[in-house]
C-alpha cells in the first residue's frame, strides 16, 4: 500500500471515532445545509439554471486556449500583465521576482486555495518575506499553524472556545472573548497591515475573457482591501476559472453564492480590470495575473475527466458528502478535499499516490446532485477507479484476490465444492485487508446456492 493511502486509512479511522470532531463538523454542516436550502429558493428553476451554467463552462473549457489568449490581450490593454506558470516552481519564482524587484518585506493575502496548492506561504517565509492571511478563517488557521480545513470555510472545525483559546495564547488577549470581540481583535491587527504591505495577493473566482478582468467573491472585504491598498496587486488562479464574458456573472455570482454559503448574493463581488487608471483616486500601480497550469492540462487532455475543470470551487459537494461528513477535510491529505478533490488529485499529482481516494466513496451521488455546474462527480470517481485498475495501481494482493474470485465464480463445481466455513475463511484471507478491519465480512451459509434452490418447496 502506498504511503498516502496508509496515512489516509489511519487518519480516517481516528477521525471517524473522534466524537468531538464529529460534533463540531456536523453542527457546521447542518448550518450550511439550512442556509443552502433557503438560498436556492431564489432560482425558480434551479435544474435548468445548472444546465445553462454547465453549457457555459463547457464552451469556456473546450475553447480554453482562445479565451485565455483573449483575456491576456484585453488585460494587457488595460495595463495589467499576465504571467503563465506551467508548474508550482514557475509560479513561486514569478512571485518572488515581483517581491525582489520591489523590495517587498510584507504581503497581505486573501483567501486562495491555489496559493495552498503551491505552498506559497512556506516559500515566502523561507525567503524572509512576511505573508499574512487576512480572511478571518485563514488568519485563524495561520495563527494555529494549520492548513485550511474546508475550501470555503477554512476553520469550520474549530469551536468558538477553540478560537478564543488560540487568540489568548498567540495574541495575548483575555481568554474568554466572544466571536464579536475576537473578530474586532483581528480587524484591528489587520488594518495596520494593509497600509504597511507593499504587495497584496488575492485568489480569483472567475477570469473574464471579454473585458480582460478578474472577479473575486468574498464576504469580509479583505480581498477588496488587499487588491486596493498595496501598490502592487498579484492575483493567482488555475487556468480553468475562465468565463467567456463578464455578463456570465449575472448567472455565476448568484450560483456561487447559493452553493458556497447559502446566500442570495455574497457581500462583495468585485471585478478588477487592471492597475489604477491615470485619473482614478487610488489603487495599485501594477497588477499581475498568474495563470497556473500545474497539470490541469492532464485533465483537459482526457475527455472523460475534462468536465472536472468546470468546477467553480463552491464547496457544496464537500458539505453533502457522507465520507467528508465523517472524516473531515484534513484526512484527505490533499489541497482539494471532498468529492472534487478525490476526482482531480490523481491528475494533479502522482496518480499512484492518490487513486485510493476514489475508492473511499459509496457512490451515493449526493455530490453530483448538488453540483451547481452539473459535474457528474460520481461517474468521474468510477472513471478514476477504472484508470487505477488499468494502470495497475491496485495492490498486488487485491489483484490476486480478484483473479481467484473470478476463477472460482466461473465454475459451478469449484463454487460448490468447499463448505461454508471454508469459503468464509478463504474470502477472509483474500479480502480482509481491503474490506477494512472494522467491517465484518459476511459469512457464507452452509448450503450452496444449488442445494438451497433444490430444497425450496415451490421448486419442482
Amino acid at each position: 500500500m502506498k504511503r498516502k493511502q496508509t496515512e489516509f486509512l489511519l487518519a480516517s479511522g481516528r477521525k471517524v471515532f473522534d466524537l468531538d470532531h464529529r460534533k463540531k463538523l456536523n453542527f457546521a454542516l447542518k448550518q450550511a445545509d439550512a442556509a443552502y436550502k433557503k438560498g436556492k429558493q431564489q432560482f425558480s428553476d434551479l435544474e435548468t439554471t445548472k444546465k445553462i451554467a454547465k453549457n457555459i463552462k463547457w464552451q469556456a473549457i473546450e475553447n480554453l486556449h482562445t479565451y485565455l489568449e483573449a483575456f491576456e490581450t484585453n488585460f494587457n490593454r488595460n495595463g495589467g500583465r499576465v504571467i503563465w506558470a506551467e508548474d508550482t516552481q514557475q509560479a513561486l519564482d514569478a512571485i518572488l521576482n515581483v517581491c525582489r524587484k520591489n523590495e517587498a518585506k510584507s504581503i497581505v493575502k486573501s483567501k486562495s486555495i491555489v496559493t495552498e496548492e503551491i505552498h506559497l506561504n512556506q516559500f515566502l517565509t523561507k525567503h524572509h518575506i512576511e505573508i499574512l492571511e487576512t480572511d478571518l478563517g485563514e488568519y485563524i488557521q495561520q495563527l494555529d499553524g494549520e492548513a485550511p480545513y474546508h475550501i470555503v470555510a477554512p476553520s469550520l472545525h474549530k469551536s468558538k472556545e477553540d478560537v478564543a483559546q488560540l487568540f489568548h495564547e498567540k495574541l495575548n488577549v483575555p481568554p474568554d472573548l466572544s466571536p464579536e470581540e475576537l473578530t474586532l481583535v483581528a480587524r484591528n491587527i489587520l488594518r495596520k497591515k494593509y497600509a504597511a504591505a507593499e504587495i497584496g495577493i488575492t485568489g480569483i473566482n472567475f477570469i473574464l475573457a471579454d473585458i480582460g478582468g478578474i472577479a473575486i467573491t468574498e464576504n469580509e472585504g479583505n480581498a477588496w482591501l488587499s487588491a486596493s491598498a498595496p501598490k502592487i496587486h498579484i492575483a493567482i488562479t488555475g487556468i480553468e476559472k475562465i468565463l467567456p464574458s463578464v455578463h456570465d456573472l449575472n448567472l455565476f455570482w448568484p450560483l456561487l453564492a447559493t452553493h458556497g454559503s447559502g446566500q442570495r448574493t455574497t457581500v462583495y463581488n468585485s471585478i478588477y480590470t487592471g492597475p489604477k487608471k491615470q485619473d482614478e483616486t487610488d489603487g495599485p500601480e501594477e497588477m499581475y495575473v498568474i495563470l497556473l497550469d500545474n497539470r490541469r492540462s492532464h485533465l483537459l487532455a482526457d475527455p472523460a475527466a475534462r468536465e472536472s475543470l468546470y468546477c467553480i470551487r463552491c464547496g457544496a459537494c464537500l458539505n453533502v458528502c457522507p465520507v467528508y461528513k465523517n472524516i473531515g477535510g484534513h484526512t484527505y491529505g490533499t489541497t482539494y478535499s471532498g468529492p472534487i478533490g478525490a476526482v482531480i488529485s490523481p491528475y494533479l499529482n502522482d496518480a499512484a499516490e492518490y487513486q485510493h481516494l476514489s475508492f473511499a466513496s459509496s457512490l451515493c451521488g449526493a455530490c453530483t446532485e448538488v453540483c451547481p455546474v452539473h459535474i457528474n462527480l460520481h461517474n468521474l470517481l468510477l472513471n478514476n477507479r477504472r484508470n487505477a485498475v488499468e494502470q495497475n495501481l491496485i495492490s498486488a494482493s487485491e489483484q490476486i484476490g480478484w483473479k481467484i474470485w473470478k476463477k472460482i465464480n466461473q465454475h459451478r463445481l469449484l463454487m460448490n465444492w468447499p463448505g461454508g466455513a471454508t469459503k468464509t475463511f478463504l474470502v477472509g484471507k483474500l479480502f480482509r485487508q481491503h474490506w477494512g478491519i472494522r467491517r465484518i465480512l459476511p459469512e457464507f451459509t452452509h448450503k450452496t446456492f444449488n442445494q438451497f434452490t433444490k430444497n425450496k418447496p415451490d421448486s419442482k
Binding site: 480587524r187 473585458i211 464576504n219 472585504g221 448567472l251 448568484p254 448574493t265 457581500v267 471585478i271 487608471k277
Partner: protein
C-alpha cells in the same frame, strides 16, 4: 495546451436558453429597500436636499460622529455637505464614516454598485467603519446583468480599474458559523435614496 478529442455540448437543448431572473417587481425602489434592509442595511428616503442634509446630520448626532469623509466634489458642493459640522476635518484613518455616491443600485439583490472611477476611489467605501451612500431612484436597475450593461455603456469600453458590487455590511461566519458584522469592511451601511424630481437623471434609459 493539449485538448484531446472535443466533447459534445452537455445539454444541447439548452444552448440557446437565456438565463435571467424573473422581474416581477413593479416597484424597484420597494424591492431594493426590502432586500437592502434584509442584509442589515438601512434606507432613508429623502425628498429634497434639505431633507438629505437633515437626515445625515441627525444620524451623525445620534452616533456621535465627529469625522466624516466625503471626496466627491459634486456632493460636497451641490449638496452643501460643507454645512455639516463634521465633514472632511480629519484623515481617512480617523474617520468614523465615509460618504460616497454610487454607479447604480441592483434591486433584486439589494446591491450598491461602486467603481474606482468615482472620486471616492477604491478604498473609502471599504475602509470606513460606516459607509453612507447617496443615490437617486434613477440609479435603480433590476439585476446584476442590467448594472453591468449600465456601467459598460457609461464608460464605453474603458471600464474603471475596479467595479464593486457591495451588498450590505461586511460579514463573517468563520467562527462557529456565527454571524458577525464589520470584519474588514464597514460594520454599518446607510443608503440615502433621493426622489428623481430632485436630481437630473444621470443616465439615458438603458433598460
Amino acid at each position: 495546451m493539449a485538448l484531446g478529442k472535443s466533447t459534445g455540448a452537455p445539454f444541447p437543448d439548452h444552448l440557446q436558453t437565456p438565463f435571467s431572473f424573473q422581474n416581477n417587481a413593479h416597484d424597484l425602489r420597494a424591492l431594493f429597500t426590502k432586500e437592502f434592509t434584509a442584509l442589515d442595511g438601512q434606507v432613508f428616503l429623502c425628498r429634497g436636499k434639505p431633507e438629505l442634509i437633515e437626515n445625515i446630520a441627525k444620524l451623525a448626532a445620534e452616533k456621535n460622529w465627529t469625522n466624516i469623509i466625503c471626496k466627491t466634489p459634486a456632493l460636497v458642493n451641490d449638496m452643501q455637505f460643507h454645512l455639516l459640522p463634521s465633514v472632511n476635518n480629519s484623515t481617512d484613518e480617523e474617520a468614523e464614516a465615509g460618504i460616497t455616491d454610487c454607479e447604480c443600485l441592483v434591486a433584486r439583490t439589494g446591491t450598491v454598485v461602486l467603481s474606482a472611477a468615482q472620486a471616492s476611489g477604491r478604498l473609502l467605501p471599504v475602509y470606513s467603519p460606516v459607509h453612507l451612500i447617496i443615490a437617486s431612484v434613477d440609479d435603480l436597475v433590476f439585476d446584476i446583468g442590467d448594472a453591468l450593461k449600465r456601467v459598460e455603456n457609461k464608460y464605453s469600453g474603458q471600464l474603471p480599474s475596479a467595479i464593486f458590487f457591495a451588498s450590505g455590511p461586511s460579514r463573517t461566519a468563520d467562527i462557529e458559523k456565527r454571524l458577525v458584522l464589520g470584519v474588514h469592511g464597514p460594520k454599518e451601511v446607510y443608503l440615502f435614496l433621493m426622489d428623481n424630481d430632485l436630481k437630473q437623471p444621470k443616465y439615458p434609459d438603458t433598460l
